[in-house]
């Protein structure tokens, strides 16, 4: 919670004012029984045969006016308290959300993979909302209830020392009950949360997998599974609720037992002339207030506990550090001298793996690329193609060897901005963002002119797409839903081209394009003066490259031109023939 607490700093006095004003309000409430006692003891005068001939009527009126005034002042304090609490809660959570977003954006590819997009999103939305509710309630009520409870205890102390003992015992007993219930309920509610996740999983699966499940006629099985999970959840919920259901009756019994004890004691004291009737009434009323507050507190604890759990989940994200290694520049200076004349891009004995302790996804890869060259990367599924090109812009760290651009290690600090701004990446999965076609293209280069945009679109074979949608200002829906896969892919290619990058990485970016468009695209890219990496499974996409790297199970089994590889590399030949076979014999399906 430490990190979250630091967000209260700008709201220091607001977060203090809230509870303080609330306490002021509570004080007025605590004073009410005293006024009532005063009416009985002082206003009525002595009782004679059930009548009060010496009653001080103006005293009674004034006492009641004071009661009303207490109510009004309490109201004003409460309103101010609510405002400060709301101000603090919303302010703190706005800051938390802001930092969360910033933090999430600073994470590396590997961190995002590890955490999962769904998790990140629920923490940024649901969890922060719960935190906000929790903070607000905490400031408003959480302090108020204990204050009233202890305040009532102190008031009892002022009135009568013996009664104070009863209050103390009652409060301790109540605290034990509330605490015990909490202790039992919390793990139970965690368990049921897990069961709810199962229900969620079933639902999600039956939407995402609707086609497959129906194709296999699994609807009934799925229903049975859901029903079982639903029932499990129901049982958990009921168990949880049954325990919570004990709390209220138990506190009710405890308080009333204390009241009986109190009255019994009071009766003895009054009988002995040590206490007045009014004071007994005051003690009784104070005990009643404790009951009300404790019930409120018990309900509140659950909400606050949930908020605390959300808070710690949020904090976990806030405390994450990007796992990407950035080296200081000095470490590089010696190397720069020796490697002054080395090629533009150098992979020097590079190994990489996705998870610590896992198998290497790439092993000992070495090759170089000169400016303006086209490098093809080919290989089967899972052979490490994407990993290879993701190392170049330093999206992932290497686990061995070095990737150098212009003689500098890509891990070195001064190179990071260059890598992000001068390399154009077209990822496998085309992603567009809500806005317009223009706003999406401008990601590549903030101040690009229309002319530059159209130039990029032309190169990416996307001119038609844009014209078909009604020009650069045509709207793009969330996630680019209003574009087909192929259209999205062409637009993401254009986005990368807008910045006229030094290095262009096409990571299987033409998979949704038909052969003709793909060929046109490659022809267009070849006219550019950029170093281009083309990742593909098709030999046709890479055959014109200056250098082709053939990957198999993370190892480079061949590096060379198409003709060289056809001569020397068995894997490449196999890939080639699996796609061509003289255009006659094809594989199945």
């Amino acid at each position: 919670m430490k990190k979250i607490l630091s967000y209260f700093k700008p709201y220091k006095w607001q977060s203090l004012m809230g509870p303080l004003l609330k306490l002021a309000e509570a004080t007025f409430e605590l004073l009410v029984p005293f006024v009532v006692a005063a009416i009985v003891d002082n206003g009525f005068g002595a009782e004679i045969n059930g009548a009060y001939p010496n009653a001080d009527k103006s005293y009674i009126v004034w006492a009641c006016v004071i009661l009303g005034a207490f109510g009004l002042f309490g109201f004003l304090f409460a309103v101010a308290a609510q405002f400060f609490s709301a101000r603090t809660a919303t302010g703190v959570c706005a800051l938390v959300r802001k930092d969360l977003f910033k933090k999430v954006q600073s994470l590396s590819y590997r961190d995002v993979d590890k955490l999962g997009e769904a998790t990140i999103l629920t923490r940024m939305t649901g969890d922060v909302d719960k935190l906000q509710t929790g903070i607000n309630l905490f400031l408003r009520l959480f302090l108020r209830s204990p204050f009233i409870v202890f305040g009532a205890m102190i008031c009892a102390l002022i009135i009568d020392l013996k009664s104070f003992g009863i209050f103390a015992v009652a409060i301790v007993a109540l605290a034990i009950v509330v605490y015990a219930v909490m202790l039992i309920c919390m793990p139970l509610s965690k368990k049921t949360q897990g069961k709810l996740d199962k229900v969620l999983l079933s639902t999600r699966e039956n939407l995402a997998g609707a086609r497959v499940l129906r194709a296999f006629c699994k609807e009934d099985d799925e229903r049975a599974q859901f029903d079982a999970r639903n029932e499990e959840l129901n049982k958990g919920r009921k168990r949880e609720a049954a325990i919570a259901a004990i709390t209220n009756p138990l506190t009710f019994v405890l308080i009333n037992a204390a009241i009986i004890w109190l009255l019994y004691n009071g009766a003895i004291s009054v009988d002995a002339g040590n206490l007045t009737q009014g004071q007994v009434i005051a003690l009784y009323n104070l005990m009643g207030q404790i009951l009300i507050e404790l019930i409120k507190l018990a309900n509140l604890i659950v909400t606050v506990a949930k908020a605390a759990a959300s808070g710690s989940r949020v904090e976990a994200v806030l405390q994450m550090q990007s796992s990407l290694k950035i080296l200081p520049d000095e470490a590089e200076s010696t190397q720069t001298e020796q490697t002054e004349k080395e090629p533009f891009i150098v992979f020097d004995g590079v190994s990489a793996r996705y998870t610590d302790g896992g198998e290497n996804a790439l092993e000992d890869i070495s090759f170089t690329a000169e400016r303006g060259q086209t490098i093809g990367v080919i290989g089967g599924t899972g052979s490490g193609k994407t990993t290879l090109v993701n190392l170049l812009p330093h999206f992932y760290d290497v686990n061995g060897g070095q990737v150098r651009v212009d003689g500098k290690n890509v891990q070195c600090a001064s190179l990071q901005a260059y890598l992000r701004n001068r390399i154009g990446v077209v990822p496998q999965k085309a992603k567009l963002f809500k806005g317009t076609i223009r706003s999406n293209l401008l990601w590549g280069k903030e101040n690009a002119t229309d002319e530059e945009l159209w130039q990029a679109l032309k190169l990416a074979q996307a001119e038609e797409v844009v014209r078909g949608k009604g020009g650069l200002d045509a709207p793009v829906e969330q996630g680019g839903k209003n574009f087909s896969g192929g259209q999205k892919q062409r637009l993401t290619i254009a986005r990368a081209l807008v910045r006229q990058p030094d290095v262009l990485i096409l990571d299987d970016s033409s998979s949704a394009l038909d052969y003709a468009t793909d060929a046109e695209l490659r022809k267009a890219v070849r006219t550019l003066d950029t170093t281009t990496f083309i990742v593909s499974q098709r030999t046709s996409s890479v055959r014109d490259a200056d250098k082709i790297i053939v990957l198999d199970d993370g190892k480079a089994v061949g590096i060379g031109t198409h003709d060289e590889l056809m001569e020397s590399c068995a894997v490449y030949r196999e890939i080639y023939f699996s796609q061509y076979k003289d255009g006659e014999e094809g594989g199945a399906a």
């Binding site: 009303g68 109510g71 009004l72 919303t90 997009e117 607000n136 997998g209 007994v280 992000r420 701004n421």
Partner: protein, 590 residues
């Protein structure tokens, strides 16, 4: 029929829809015992609860002054209090159990109905509605409804009972003071209402802004890698912070205004309290019948009486949002189902005769897609479907599997219109592998045996070997028992191999392969081609592929363009025609 169907879809559902309350009551009505218990225990607990202050007030009357304590009456009263408290506490506990039972079971039932609905929804609904939204109906909305229902049952019910009970007691004890309290009540309600309507406006604004922020965050996180690649973090942040600022303001207003309910009703209650104290004190002074104990009773009743009003106003807001949630669940439950196939007969003895006659179809009635499509397939034939993106290839498969129904014409299997046989029997005869692989959360084994649950492990391994999936499955952490969650760490290609294994194991009479090997590299593809060929031997199969080399041996190639079959024939014939197919085919070697 076409018109009738579409008109049903467009007509708002409200007309026959029962009111939300009625429907909720219908669900609640399924638990008559708990419901009766609920009423009984509520009455019991409230009555006993109300008696406690009466006894205590009388008890205070017994403690007057030095030497003036009526011990006998006092001890009798204490016993009375004890009994009342015990009864009330027990009744409260049982009441909670009944309430929990009702609300938990009702929500379980609603959830079940909603989920069971999912399997009967037309795929059109699933394809066109946000999955996140549907999931939140089944999960989050149901939960919120449960909370609201529980709160409603416990607090609304006992609250109203307490108010009524207290009223009766007060009017009986002293009707004049009682009337003062009753007379002031509407004021408290009015204030609560005033605050609620005003804060509602701000809540709406908050919800809208929050939705906007969530949508933006969702997109930004979904595209996080792209953002990092384009160093677009600052721009995103700027936009996010702008929305965040607005959300902060909206939340502040919503939270602040809504939190005014309690203080403002409390201030009114306090004024009532002061009034009761004033009038009560004068009653005590003026008459011999209204004792100090009565005043104490009255004051604690005033507290008890006004408290439920606060609660009730809170509960009503809660119930309102609970009803809104219930509405969202009912909306899902009310969705029009697929045409029932209960009375249809099962398809059997499938050899593989499939025909499409004059088929018309479109997803969006404004944009016709398939027109007058005709196709005759004999047993064992291999039909390939090729065409550019969006030409309607996948649509054809949706019709074959009867994921969608045709708008005109008919799809027949063995001469039976697919609309006249059960979906189950139709789909069991097809084996399907799609481009978009989907695996269930479960073990590899569970996934593979999906199409043939009674398969032995040997059969499964044999199928996996044929599909070249065995080697990588073996290398997984727990082999065939490895748990796959959200696809696990498998690549698209590996997932596709698992989907292929699934079919190799099930060996259905007909096959549908929609870009089934699109994510598998061509070398592996070549390796599994033998197994595929063997599988397709004697089975009618439909193959969609953009890698044309894989389909040149098909018996018939359908070339689709803009929803029509523009060319139809064997590879060599089509090449000779030098039309669309030839263009596509030659294009891939460009």
């Amino acid at each position: 029929m076409k018109n009738a169907k579409s008109s049903v879809k467009n007509r708002p559902q409200k007309t026959q829809k029962k009111s939300t309350l009625k429907r909720i009551l219908h669900y609640v009505g399924r638990y008559p015992f708990a419901l009766t218990g609920c009423f009984l225990f509520a009455i019991l607990s409230v009555a006993a609860n109300l008696l406690v202050p009466v006894f205590l007030g009388d008890a205070i009357d017994c403690i007057v002054d030095k030497g003036r304590v009526e011990w006998e009456t006092l001890s009798r009263l204490f016993i009375n209090v004890g009994v009342a408290v015990a009864v009330s506490a027990l009744a409260q506990f049982l009441l909670s159990l009944c309430n929990n039972r009702i609300s938990c079971n009702v929500v379980r039932d609603m959830r079940r109905d909603a989920f069971h609905k999912l399997g009967n929804l037309p795929l059109q609904y699933i394809d066109t509605h946000s999955h996140g939204d549907t999931v939140s109906r089944v999960v989050a909305d149901a939960d919120q409804f449960a909370d609201g229902l529980l709160m409603g049952f416990t607090q609304l019910f006992t609250g109203v009972m307490t108010i009524l009970g207290t009223l009766v007691f007060m009017l009986l004890t002293n009707w004049k003071i009682g009337l003062v309290v009753v007379g002031m009540t509407p004021l408290s309600l009015l204030v609560a209402r005033f605050v609620a309507t005003h804060s509602h406006k701000f809540f709406k604004e908050q919800t809208a802004t929050r939705g906007e922020q969530t949508a933006f965050a969702e997109e930004a996180i979904g595209g996080l890698k792209t953002t990092i690649a384009f160093a677009h973090e600052d721009e995103n942040e700027e936009k996010y912070n702008e929305i965040n600022g607005r959300l902060e303001k909206a939340s502040l207003k919503a939270i602040f205004y809504s939190s005014l309910t309690n203080p403002s009703t409390r201030v009114i209650n306090n004024v009532i309290y002061a009034l009761v104290a004033l009038i009560g004190a004068f009653a005590v002074v003026g008459s011999g019948t209204f004792t100090v104990g009565s005043l104490t009773k009255f004051l604690s009743y005033t507290n008890q009486y006004t408290k439920p009003f606060n609660e009730v106003s809170g509960v009503i807001t809660e119930l309102k949002s609970a009803f809104a949630c219930a509405d969202r669940i009912f909306e899902l439950i009310d969705q029009i189902e697929e045409v029932s196939d209960k009375d249809n007969k099962a398809l059997d003895g499938v050899e593989g005769n499939v025909a499409l006659t004059d088929v018309d179809f479109s997803y969006d009635k404004q944009k016709p897609l398939l027109k007058d499509l005709n196709l005759q397939v004999r047993p064992g034939q291999r039909i390939a479907i090729v065409g550019r993106t969006g030409s309607g290839k996948t649509t054809l498969i949706n019709l074959l599997m009867r994921f969608y129904d045709v708008d005109g014409g008919a799809v027949t299997v063995e001469g039976e219109d697919v609309r006249h046989i059960t979906r189950r029997s139709l789909r069991q005869n097809y084996g399907m592998v799609l481009q978009e692989t989907w695996l269930k959360n479960g073990t590899v084994c569970e996934n593979l045996k999906m199409g043939k649950p009674d398969a032995t492990d040997e059969e499964m391994i044999e199928a996996a070997k044929a599909a070249h999936a065995h080697s990588f499955i073996k290398r997984m952490e727990k082999g065939y028992d490895t748990l796959l969650s959200d696809g696990g760490a498998l690549s698209e290609g590996q997932k596709q191999l698992l989907c292929i294994t699934r079919i190799m194991l099930a060996k259905p009479p007909m096959l549908i392969l929609d870009e089934a090997t699109s994510s598998i590299d061509t070398r592996t593809e070549l390796k599994i081609s033998d197994a595929f060929n063997k599988l397709m031997e004697g089975r009618t199969s439909f193959v969609v592929a953009h890698r044309l080399s894989t389909i040149i041996h098909s018996d018939c190639i359908l070339v689709m363009k803009d929803g029509r079959v523009v060319e139809q024939g064997a590879h060599t014939e089509l090449l000779a025609q030098n039309g669309e197919y030839a263009a596509l085919y030659n294009g891939q070697f460009a």
